[in-house]
């Protein structure tokens, strides 16, 4: 057991730090979503030209071949330096790794480079209005049609759908097969007559997500990832990469939220209130436990090669601590905590989604109970 960085890990961190210091693009322009997105796209291009996208992807696919620990160090440095996220987050974290794991040689040649450069943005079409936690029950239907597929259906909670060139899309190809076996994983081109994108306004007032409506949208055969009917396994890979890739960044975000909360408590003169001290300590302890758990998971994943179901603990902790901290900040802030347009009220409302997005806390608990503890399935 050694929690300090090895010499090569420390050298890697220093290299990242120096590059970021010299090339930091400055703050993201606020108030104009399109301008913000173009800013992040330009920033990704710059990162890519210097070889800093797809850090843990194998070198043969345009990555840097870094270890998962180095990937985590890289993500931490981005977060600590308040560096804007690259535009193509979903392509880098999920789309690319899935193509590398399940794609054909042609697909790797076609899709990977533009994901890295940010030239082609990816989004994710998994959830449907009637298929949230029970993802395998999706109803979007793909039917064979000369040399390709025609897809009809609806998706919801699709981040970046209005910017995306491609969508990682799950559709049912065999309605007669058991529900997990009749699903296929497609790469859907967004810019076509059969695809309509509508923004979805959320309780914060903003529209971070979209709904997409498909009416006989076309996908060629060469855009099927994995086997026809084998989409469920491909989707599971995507979700495990999603949970594994975000742990280190999430911890930095939580730490920053806690620092802000401590500053607010001091500003209000509440630092000797015993109950507030107890709660601050609980957050400090919980966030540290989450950071250490993420490191243990990384160490284990480097040995086995695939992220395990234990990753669900980190997602659960993140939602739990972020919600508790933003609730407390909203309370300590007084009227400002519930006034529209304040940072405290925004974060407080936005955090309501933390126990739903990327797997509800209840589903995560099912995964832990069934796949880690070996308890019998509900069904």
């Amino acid at each position: 057991m050694d929690l300090s960085l090895t010499e090569s890990e420390a050298a890697f961190r220093d290299e990242v730090r120096i590059w970021l210091k010299e090339n930091h693009p400055g703050p993201v322009p606020e108030g104009d979503d399109a301008a913000e997105f173009e800013f992040r796209r330009a920033w990704q291009k710059e990162m890519h030209e210097a070889g800093w996208t797809g850090v843990s992807w194998p070198e043969e696919f345009g990555g840097r071949g870094a270890s998962l620990i180095e990937q985590a160090i890289f993500n931490e440095e981005l977060a600590y330096g308040s560096v804007p996220p690259p535009a193509n987050v979903l392509g880098l974290v999920m789309g690319g790794p899935v193509v590398i794991a399940h794609g054909t040689t042609e697909q790797k040649e076609r899709f990977l480079e533009p994901i890295l450069s940010g030239e082609e943005i990816w989004c994710q079409g998994f959830s449907e209005p009637e298929s949230g936690s029970d993802l395998a029950s999706i109803k979007s239907r793909a039917v064979k049609s000369n040399g390709g597929w025609k897809i009809t259906g609806q998706k919801v909670w699709t981040t970046y759908a209005h910017e995306a060139k491609y969508c990682m899309f799950l559709a049912r190809t065999d309605p007669d097969a058991p529900k997990h076996r009749g699903i296929t994983y497609f790469i859907l081109e967004m810019d076509q007559p059969g695809v309509e994108v509508r923004p979805l306004r959320q309780i914060t007032g903003e529209a971070e997500f979209n709904e997409i409506f498909l009416e006989e949208a076309q996908v060629p055969d060469e855009n099927v990832i994995g086997e026809v009917g084998g989409g469920w396994q491909v989707a599971i890979t995507t979700l495990m990469f999603e949970r594994a890739g975000l742990g280190a960044v999430a911890v930095v975000g939580l730490r920053r939220t806690l620092e802000d909360l401590i500053a607010l408590v001091r500003e209000k003169g509440l630092e000797s209130d015993p109950l507030i001290r107890q709660r601050i300590a609980e957050f400090q302890i919980g966030i540290e436990a989450m950071r250490l758990g993420a490191l243990r998971t990384l160490t284990a994943t480097m040995k086995t090669g695939i992220p395990g179901p234990e990753g669900s603990l980190g997602k659960w902790q993140w939602g739990k601590y972020n919600q508790a901290m933003t609730e407390m900040a909203s309370e300590v802030a007084g009227p400002a905590g519930v006034t529209v347009g304040t940072d405290a009220s925004y974060r407080f409302l936005r955090s309501r989604a933390n126990s739903i997005e990327g797997g509800t806390t209840e589903v995560l608990q099912n995964i832990i109970a069934e796949r880690v503890l070996g308890l019998p399935k509900l069904r």
């Binding site: 057991m1 929690l3 302890i285 160490t299 209840e362 099912n366 019998p376």
Partner: protein, 346 residues
């Protein structure tokens, strides 16, 4: 960076697990607890393996390994709920190593490491939360020497010099006593570091207690049927078990981090020790209490073994202060400044 046991540490863990499983089966734990006794021949075997002195330097007669190795052993001792002098002795040795004078070290460490003498520890006065308050001293009635934390630091006292009264704690798997006044010779070194290292050792035991209680509950939830189904298939029960895993894993992550920091990054130890003291105590209690709920009525009976883990978790989790006091220390170290000691809720 590698957050996993080394091959050598895994081997120690395997040996300890096997040793405990062979010699401290639940019926043996019950036999010793009902007699409120230790089995000296079993402690002699542990001493033979070098366990009390595993983290004592070779110059002082120990194995010269670190706090991580001791944590591995104590986690397994907690898992088995083994009644033995191991925590009192290895714990006292940690404090003497950090705070003792050369003479104090030379007098006691080789004897504690070899098992020839056994140790105890506890606190009195403000260090125990009140003017004349004494904590329950761990292992004092059976010990040869005791570490006494007081307002100024730590004293070292041969057990014969202490005015103590044995206490029948709810945890019958260990001996406890309170003292009426501080006594002994001042230890000149860093008593705070000693106390922090001891806190990590206790947390390791608590982690093992939680792990075992969770395994017992999960096994029962798989087998026990009500309404024609295994109760573990109900989410009200399975989610309770998932919460146990979250608590136990948080406790384990914080324990091994603090144990590593004690030896490799001592400047991080005070905060790490305060964090794990609070979390390990709460997680072990919540897990054992939640396990009792999974067992239902049977878990509330004297015949059921869970009571030994449940009661030990409650007492061990309060040896060096309440979780609330540890959290107040965390708040101070996290940047809120010192709180008023009286204001810290339990």
């Amino acid at each position: 960076m590698n957050f996993d046991l080394t091959d050598e540490q895994s081997e120690i863990k395997g040996t300890a697990k096997q040793f405990m499983a062979d010699r401290f089966k639940p019926e043996k734990v019950r036999e010793l607890a009902e007699a409120r006794a230790y089995d000296d021949s079993l402690y002699a075997q542990m001493a033979e393996l070098g366990w009390p002195g595993i983290a004592v330097s070779e110059d002082d007669g120990g194995q010269g390994l670190g706090l991580v190795e001791l944590a591995v052993l104590l986690e397994e001792a907690g898992y088995a709920c083994a009644p033995s002098q191991l925590l009192g002795s290895a714990g006292a040795a940690l404090v003497i190593t950090a705070a003792g004078s050369p003479e104090q070290r030379a007098e006691w460490l080789p004897r504690l490491a070899s098992g020839e003498a056994t140790g105890a520890f506890g606190a009195i006065g403000p260090a125990a939360g009140g003017e004349d308050e004494s904590t329950l001293f761990c292992d004092l009635p059976t010990a040869d020497v005791a570490v006494v934390f007081d307002a100024e630091g730590a004293l070292l006292a041969p057990a014969g010099e202490l005015d103590f009264e044995a206490v029948e704690a709810i945890d019958a798997t260990r001996s406890y006593a309170t003292i009426s006044a501080p006594a002994g010779e001042r230890m000149p070194g860093d008593a705070g570091a000693g106390r922090d290292r001891l806190a990590v050792a206790i947390a390791a035991e608590l982690t093992g207690i939680g792990q075992r209680a969770m395994e017992m509950a999960v096994e029962y939830a798989r087998e026990r049927k009500q309404f024609d189904r295994a109760i573990g298939s109900y989410q009200a029960v399975s989610h309770r078990c998932a919460a146990m895993l979250l608590g136990v894993e948080e406790s384990r992550s914080l324990t091994y981090y603090a144990a590593w920091a004690a030896d490799a990054e001592p400047e991080s130890l005070p905060l790490a020790a305060a964090m794990v003291s609070a979390r390990a105590a709460d997680a072990a209690w919540e897990t054992t209490a939640s396990a009792l709920q999974v067992f239902g009525g049977i878990g509330f009976t004297w015949e059921h073994d869970l009571q030994f883990w449940l009661k030990r978790s409650r007492v061990a989790g309060r040896m060096l202060g309440t979780p609330g006091e540890h959290r107040d220390r965390v708040a101070e170290l996290a940047g809120l400044g010192a709180g008023s000691a009286a204001g810290a809720p339990a």
